[in-house]
Amino acid sequence: MNRTKPQAVAAETYIQALINKDSTIVYDIYQRFFPKTLQYVTQNQGTEEQAKDVFQESLLHIIVGSQKKRLTIQNFEAYLFTVCKNMWRREAESQKKRVIYSEFPTLIDKDTDMALFALEQERQEIYRDQFQLLSTNCQEILALFFNNTSYEAIVEELSYASINTARQRIFKCRNKLVSLIKKAIHHY
């Protein structure tokens, strides 16, 4: 980019423009932010059409979040792009594999699916934030454990005395994380 960096517009300005149907600013949103989403989606096995859909749905996600949930955004561009990426990732994953829950309704309409996306996105933010509250040691050992690292390898990597000590440590860390998460979910 050879032009000077545009000033960061407050997230609230964009959200209000979407809600108040301000064509000038909404056009500006497309112009500033769509190319990045287009690039991401098309580089990850998506089409331009799918990129458009993901971009628009992500903006709608932000509206729903700000109107119906307590969504606060620090940086509009960064948040929008994260949501676009997540939405496309989710879409690509579900194209690959069928979800295994037995009680899944076979047909789910777009509005409900996007509402489910909103809950999943929110849940993911909770997991991320609460994980950050753990000690570095807990974070390390849980990351290894959840990525299917064997106890033997964990013992070696983090210099534990025995498999049993590592096992206990994992158990403690995970319980701590789960209780933090439950508290946070309760808060929402």
Binding site: S23, Q56, L60, F104, D113
Partner: protein
């Protein structure tokens, strides 16, 4: 609600598939009787997905209330208005050729001007033509999705995708094959809508009539589609008849729109 540590171990073993067949059966029995366990499993499973770098999946059956509230908002007039405006501006943006840096401001100004003129003229004509009425009411947003959760690869789902991409010819080919093996009335709606959008009103009317006579749950909706089809042919009288029939049925489908459209046609 807190569970004993043994339960967590069982959940672990269950998720990693290391329970014996009998244990698994017993545990699944327990799950069906205890919704709290289901929530625990969902939490563990989704947390695991998150820490592995996968998407955090939630089970819609455990969040029915929240999902109902959120999708109700998404269907509200307020939200639909915002969405339509967003898409309208998007259409203007996407239809512009990629401008060079020098010309960018000019395209930008022109795009806004076109949009503003478009919006003003829509509001200025108090008596819209039947074409405009058709364009306003034939949004097809109400068509039930044919996409099966987590699977966009089915034939009818491809048809649906093509339909929304306005590739009606390809969509018709898929739906025509699908309806012989699967007489789901939804497919008639898509097929009829595709023909109608292509301008083949005769075929569209035949399909909607078939839907109307099918004696399925979706039969009453046929009057709405027939009204749109007659509107497209310019046959306002028959369109009005279909709308009146729709309004007289005890069915909530498109009631408000039908009354508005009937009003506009009177």
């Amino acid at each position: 609600m807190d569970f004993e540590d043994t339960l967590y171990n069982t959940i672990d073993a269950y998720l990693s598939g290391s329970l014996s067949a009998t244990e698994q059966q017993a545990f699944e029995q327990e799950i069906t009787q205890n919704p709290e366990i289901k929530k625990e499993i969902e939490l563990y499973q989704s947390l695991q997905q998150h820490l592995r770098g996968d998407w955090t999946r939630l089970d819609p059956a455990l969040h029915t209330e929240e999902l109902k509230n959120l999708s109700a908002y998404r269907r509200s007039n307020e939200f639909v208005d915002i969405k339509q405006h967003l898409e309208q501006v998007g259409t203007t943006y996407f239809e512009q050729p990629t401008p060079t840096t020098k010309r960018r401001w000019w395209y930008y100004a022109a795009a806004i001007a076109v949009l503003v003129i478009g919006m003003v003229s829509v509001q200025m004509f108090t008596t819209p033509t039947t074409d405009a009425l058709y364009a306003e009411y034939a949004t097809w947003k109400e068509l039930p999705s044919l996409t099966v959760q987590g699977d966009d690869a089915t034939t009818v789902a491809q048809g649906e995708a093509l339909f929304y991409k306005k590739q009606y010819r390809e969509a018709i080919r898929i739906f025509e094959t699908a309806q012989t093996t699967d007489t789901y009335p939804t497919i008639w709606m898509y097929l009829g809508a595709s023909y109608l959008e292509m301008g083949n009103t005769e075929k569209a009317i035949a399909l909607f009539q078939q839907l109307k006579d099918s004696n399925t749950l979706d039969s009453p909706k046929a009057n709405w589609y027939l009204a749109l089809a007659y509107l497209k042919t310019g046959n306002n009288e028959q369109s009005k008849q279909a709308l009146q029939q729709l309004i007289s049925t005890k069915n909530n489908f498109k009631q408000a729109e039908a009354i508005q459209l009937l009003d506009a046609l009177e």
